[in-house]
């Protein structure tokens, strides 16, 4: 329960939401689906801004990439024909596995998932990392501090007098999103670059039951041209950990001919050191490293097969 929640705001404009979120004297947080926030026992939260009326629930394709609005629910992503057709459907599948519960997928949003990040326990994070997704963030472009809004105790603090002019939007790579995000920025959408036509993708996961949270997951997207890897993207992740792109493995495979699995295995052995998963009560770091290598091999294998099939028959 949010014991000290005193204010509830329905924002109808993004700027309105940003103003509310910027208030320094009232801890205000954005409210998307609520599945994480409402279950949180955070007594410091004083106000929420409901984002449902901001018209940020959409999935569109501009030819270069797929734009997924921050308020798009996970279930909408599961059901989206656009996402089912993208990257062998791995983004839609990852949305499906991001919660075992359809009820939660009906409520939880993409923006909320990114906002809660690792705590979301969502497979989406790994797949979005493999897809080179970017996050569009917006904040106020200019803040004029109205000194008259201060109080004798806190001179200079802007209370009601914050003014926003224009908008300040920036795109942040998902892989660095959690490091680069700033307070008071609102997630607007996620942009997934459209994979090359001759690419193939794969997503796999390990869990105690088929729909359980992932102890470990892996996603790969590979472009194959003329029998060689033109580009490889490989990410590992799972519950309670940041998804990690294995750049060394990607580089080692780039431009290499698609021949045997041995070279993939060797590249993984050489580059798996980038994957430093945590130990927790669900699984040990050692287990995750050992299985991660196997799982990475398998997603690369399947993605390659899918890419070859795409090259032959079109995706």
């Amino acid at each position: 329960m949010l014991l000290n929640l005193l204010e509830y705001h329905w924002a109808e404009q993004i700027d309105e939401a940003l103003i509310l979120l910027s208030r320094p004297d009232t801890k205000t947080v954005p409210l998307a689906g609520g599945t994480y926030l409402v279950g949180l026992k955070d007594d410091s939260i004083q106000a929420v801004v409901d984002l449902r009326d901001l018209e940020l629930a959409y999935i569109s394709d501009d030819g270069r990439g797929i734009h997924i609005g921050a308020m798009t629910t996970l279930q909408s992503m599961v059901d989206s024909p656009v996402l089912k057709a993208l990257a062998n459907g791995m983004l839609a599948r990852a949305a499906q596995f991001s919660s075992f519960s359809r009820l939660i997928r009906n409520s939880a949003t993409l923006g909320g998932t990114l906002g809660t990040w690792v705590a979301s326990q969502a497979d989406l994070l790994t797949v979005l990392a493999a897809l080179d997704a970017e996050v569009l963030l917006r904040s106020g472009a200019q803040t004029q501090v109205n000194l008259s809004g201060g109080t004798p105790d806190r001179p200079g603090w802007a209370l009601p007098g914050v003014i926003y002019k224009g908008k300040n939007e920036r795109r942040v790579a998902l892989s660095s999103f959690n490091r680069e995000r700033r307070a008071n920025e609102l997630i607007i959408e996620v942009i997934v670059p459209r994979p090359a036509p001759d690419s193939g993708a794969s997503f796999m996961r390990v869990a105690r039951t088929p729909t359980d949270i992932a102890l470990l997951n892996a996603a790969a997207l590979v472009d194959v041209q003329d029998g060689a890897y033109r580009r490889v993207r490989l990410a590992l992740g799972g519950v309670n950990m940041e998804s990690v792109r294995l750049h060394n493995v990607e580089r080692l495979l780039q431009a290499k001919p698609v021949t045997s699995g041995q070279q993939v295995f060797e590249a993984l052995q050489a580059g798996i050191g980038e994957f430093q998963p945590p130990s927790d009560f669900r699984a040990s770091s050692g287990y995750r490293r050992a299985s991660g290598l196997n799982l990475a091999y398998r997603v690369l294998e399947e993605a390659t097969i899918n890419a070859q099939a795409s090259s032959e028959g079109g995706m």
């Binding site: 014991l3 929640l5 105690r208 009560f281 699984a283 287990y287 299985s291």
Partner: protein, 989 residues
């Protein structure tokens, strides 16, 4: 804040706080179908449709639904006109405790609106957010598919129940049957139709089963009319329509909300506690600490008097013994105020060393967990030994010496939780006669009354315990867990008080299954004949002894007799640790024992080079055998000799062997990354506790031919009310709808030990049968006067009592005559029943698995259960028991485990980290009921509730061993455990 919601088509303006959840607001408005099961949206009991989309309302702020339409199950249908989905849930037996049912119905409603022709996988996905701990999802999935067909206008197989009241007409007493007789006319039937004198029952449509299980009848066909038939559950309509039936579904004026402050330390002395600030908080009405309550040792184990386990618990104590142990209790005007008050209680702890590893609990330098002098019935408090058990028949060491092969093995089983969807909840209040009413979610209302009485300082006569519908118990509510403290808060405040656990509290502070380390040592001849068998175990009872002795006693007494060799030994040390105490959990020690025994049998077969089933057949218990341990190892005392009078084990195993395709698949795992294996486990259990369990029943006849049946038996969702009504109806020659059953109210119903030990159908059913036989005799006496025929010549069939000459009177006419006309008397009786026999049910369970050798992930592909539970009173509820029990065992085998950090704090406190199976997780499931008839129970019944949970985990482990050629001796079979075993064998890692 003002909020406008359109709820079930009605626009409502509500005044709510910004932090009110939608669930809270809806329940405040009286929509009780919206249930509380967790605070994370994971259980789905709080499902509502928001603008037509099913969502968990516990993780929605009410304001999020502002301006939206909200639909609850109350709007779908009612008792007079059910929605086809609700009908289908009733017809297929998809409702057990019913706590998750409204949510499931709404999820199904949404699915069928979007997709009128869903596949089974789509149905499972639609139900994925509605966790159910009772059904195994088999029948709910069937129900949705059936409803879909009905809504598409397709014909579906009829599930017509014997005694369906579709043609029932209003009752009218009419003229006296004597007048009819005088005029030479036949009397009208109670249902308004003309009496023909025929004994034929109305024809029923279809096969009537409605279920999936195959009923394998090994008994002769009988002329039973109600027993053995798939009657609708008597409580189904109120559950499927979301009627206020559970503990929390009442509004009491001025009710206070209680919260517990619990220990953050695994072991500590409370040097001082200052509650003055909390008490000063406006709206706080009581704060109780150990300084405010009497220090009386008691046990929370809801068992018969005198409870055999340690009396080592205190309402509140100055020593806390696990993280989650009680420190203080608060009653305040709102839950929020109570929460704030908890934060104001200042506790000065002296943190003590803790024992977190059961293997070190008896070390000489281990801290003592119960040094207090007042506690009693602890086996050896100085060694942290709560209970010790030893039983031996024959001479085991000589048996080992005479064996050709001795096989030893260690097996480890985890602490797992019952996880009912309804958490522990109790409401206490003073009634108008200043008697304390305890409305509680319990399996043991009579034990609650007796056990809390001295603790709260009231005589039992001043306590009235009411058990409404229960949202699942599975043994966890055979514990008198929170009734005492809530009662003390009512005594302190003179106000009604509600205390309800959150899901995290349920995990941290309620009960669970005992974890054990078991050592098996078995001696066999080369031909597989077992000569000696020994089971030695170390069990962890956590901070308190509760069921420590009796659970572990069952680990030996219910498992080792399955292979009755001449030399058997059982020894158990049950130790205290500073972890949350386990207690009773469906299976009651037996799943632990069978995991060890049945894994071990496969290992013996492997070493002998024998087929694992052949080894079992060579050594198993047979009809006519004496249970070798029954006398030596009773429950809390010496037991009673038990002869096996019925045993369907051969048929059960044959079914599982065939359905698993054993001969082809066993030992044939394939090659490559994914390996497949099949495994089997046998199991036996008990039916009630011999010489201890007792139930009572009262029955009286009403004017209209209906009967009030009052039983102390506690229906916790198992369907026992229905089964008991069937037994009464069978004996009385009437229909189930003629029986108005009321269960479990200490003021109005007779004593019953409660819903545990798989006893209700056998023990309480025996009481009902006996009471019904006595009422039947009284009815026949009256009818004989009316018909001028001797009672022994009369027969009763379908509400009509007939004389050999074709004359007849209805049961209603008998009632009217006896109440109003001549020799007036109330036809009624009260009877009780107990037994010194505990006939074991038997089962064979099988699993097929696929193992990923690169990650260790285990996927159960198929789970088969074949169960001999004697005669089955209601096949549809019996199937439900088997499917639900087997599903809980799937979790025991693969995914469920309570895990702690190094300080003893539980880490698995939500339904993601503690993983119970959801609908899409389920493997293909097959259920078979092998009917036998046992001479002791009513109509030949044996138990069914616990046996399905006993063998599935070892069957899975044996299947994994078959797939990999190596044994993982610890469950759950998590990917990491399996991969480590693979690496250990291959030398990796």
């Amino acid at each position: 804040m003002e909020l406008e919601l359109r709820i079930n088509g009605v626009i409502k303006s509500l005044d709510s706080a910004p932090n009110d959840s939608l669930m809270t607001v809806l329940r405040q408005e009286g929509y009780f179908s919206v249930k509380h099961g967790c605070e994370t949206g994971e259980c789905g009991a709080c499902t509502v449709l928001v603008d037509g989309v099913p969502r968990p309302s516990c993780v929605m702020l009410a304001a999020q639904a502002g301006g939206c339409t909200v639909t609850t199950v109350e709007s779908l249908g009612n008792a007079r006109k059910l929605h086809p989905i609700q009908e289908a849930f009733i017809d297929t037996g998809a409702i057990q405790c019913g706590y998750c049912t409204p949510g499931m119905v709404l999820s199904a409603f949404d699915l069928l609106k979007r997709n009128p022709s869903p596949t089974e996988d789509e149905v499972r996905d639609a139900l994925s957010g509605n966790l159910c701990r009772c059904t195994g999802y088999v029948k709910p999935v069937q129900a949705v598919l059936r409803a879909a067909a009905i809504l598409r206008g397709e014909a579906v197989p009829a599930i017509s129940r014997p005694g369906s009241n579709e043609n029932f007409k209003p009752w009218n007493p009419g003229r006296s049957p004597l007048e009819h007789a005088e005029h030479g006319a036949a009397p009208p039937r109670d249902d308004g139709s003309a009496f023909s004198g025929s004994t034929e029952r109305p024809a029923t449509e279809g096969d009537g089963s409605g279920g999936t299980a195959t009923l394998v009848e090994t008994r002769a066909e009988t002329d039973l009319r109600v027993v053995g038939k798939p009657e609708r559950k008597v409580d189904a309509i109120k559950l499927v329509t979301g009627k206020p039936a559970f503990v929390d579904d009442i509004d009491l004026r001025d009710m206070l909300h209680a919260r517990l402050l619990t220990s953050p330390h695994a072991h500590a002395i409370i040097r001082d506690i200052d509650a003055s600030k909390a008490r000063a908080l406006p709206g706080v009405h009581a704060v109780l600490t150990y300084k405010d309550v009497p220090r009386i040792p008691y046990t929370t184990a809801g068992q018969s008097w005198p409870e055999p386990g340690p009396h080592d618990q205190y309402v509140l104590d100055n020593r806390v013994r696990f993280v989650g142990d009680r420190v203080a209790a608060v009653a305040a005007e709102t839950p929020e105020l109570a929460e704030q008050a908890l934060a104001l209680i200042q506790v000065d702890y002296e943190v003590l060393p803790a024992v977190l590893d059961l293997r070190h609990a008896m070390d000489a330098d281990a801290p003592r967990i119960h040094p207090e002098a007042e506690s009693y019935r602890i086996h050896d408090a100085s060694r942290n030994l709560a209970a010790y058990l030893h039983a031996e028949v024959g001479d085991v060491e000589r048996g080992f010496a005479a064996s050709d092969l001795i096989v030893e093995g260690d097996y480890i089983v985890p602490q797992v939780q019952q996880t009912p969807i309804e958490n522990h909840i109790v409401i206490t209040y003073w009634d108008e006669d200043d008697r304390l009413v305890v409305r509680t979610s319990t399996q043991v209302p009579y034990h609650v009354r007796r056990i809390i009485a001295p603790v709260i300082g009231l005589p039992p006569r001043q306590i009235h315990v009411i058990k409404p519908r229960i949202g699942g118990g599975f043994g966890g509510k055979q514990e008198v867990l929170i009734e005492d403290i809530c009662a003390l808060l009512t005594i302190a405040t003179n106000r009604p008080v509600k205390l309800e656990f959150s899901r995290a509290e349920e995990f941290r502070s309620s009960r669970s299954r005992h974890p054990q380390i078991l050592h098996m040592k078995t001696g066999v001849k080369r031909d597989g004949t077992m000569i000696a068998n020994s089971m030695t175990l170390l069990a962890n009872t956590g901070a308190y002894g509760t069921h420590s002795m009796t659970v572990q006693s069952n680990t030996g007494s219910k498992t080792l007799p399955l292979y009755p060799c001449p030399n058997i030994r059982f020894e158990a040390n049950v130790v205290y640790t500073n972890l949350p105490p386990p207690g009773a959990f469906r299976g009651y020690g037996v799943p632990q024992g069978f995991f060890a025994l049945e894994s071990h049998i496969d290992e013996i077969a492997k070493q002998l080079g024998m087929d694992a089933l052949e080894l079992r057949r060579k050594n198993w218990l047979k009809e006519g055998d004496e249970n070798p341990l029954a006398k030596a190892l009773g429950e809390g005392k010496e037991g009673y000799t038990q002869i096996i009078e019925s045993c369907g084990l051969p048929q059960c195993l044959q079914i599982v062997e065939e359905r698993l395709n054993w001969k082809e698949k066993r030992g044939n795992p394939g090659t490559g990354r994914f390996r497949r294996g099949v495994g089997v486990s046998l199991a036996m259990h008990g039916t009630a506790i011999a010489g201890l369990d007792m139930g009572g029943a009262s029955l009286k006849l009403n004017d209209d031919g209906s009967f009030n049946l009052l039983v102390g038996a506690t229906d916790i969702g198992t369907g026992s009310d229905t089964v008991l009504a069937q037994i009464a109806a069978e004996v009385l020659g009437v229909r189930v709808e003629d029986i108005i059953i009321h269960s479990s109210d200490t003021d109005f119903t007779p004593f019953d030990t409660g819903a545990y030990a798989s006893s209700t159908t056998y023990i309480s059913g025996g009481a009902v049968k006996r009471a019904a036989e006595q009422v039947r005799t009284q009815m026949l006496d009256v009818a004989s006067d009316m018909l001028r025929a001797s009672p022994e010549t009369l027969t009763i069939n379908d509400r009509v009592i007939s004389a050999p000459n074709g004359q007849g009177v209805t049961v209603s006419q008998v009632a009217l005559h006896s109440l109003h006309v001549e020799n007036q008397q109330q036809i009624m009786s009260t009877a009780s029943w107990m037994s010194y026999n505990s006939p074991p049910p038997f089962a064979a369970q099988g699993a097929e698995v696929e193992v990923d050798t690169e990650t260790g992930a285990v996927r159960v592909l198929k789970a088969i259960s074949a169960v001999d539970a004697g005669r089955v009173i209601n096949p549809i509820t019996a199937e439900g028991q088997i499917e639900g029990g087997a599903t809980q065992a799937l979790g025991y085998g693969t995914s469920e485990e309570m895990v702690y950090d190094a300080q003893g704090t539980l880490l698995t406190t939500n339904l993601s980290d503690y993983r119970i199976y959801s609908a899409p997780d389920m493997p293909e499931m097959e259920t078979y009921i092998v009917e036998t008839s046992d001479p002791f129970g009513p109509f030949g019944v044996k138990a069914i509730a616990e046996i399905p949970i006993d063998g599935m985990a070892p069957a899975i482990a044996n299947a994994v061993a078959d797939a990999l050629g190596l044994r993982v001796n610890e469950i759950p079979l998590t990917p990491e455990r399996v991969l480590r075993a693979i690496h250990a064998q291959t030398g990796k890692g």
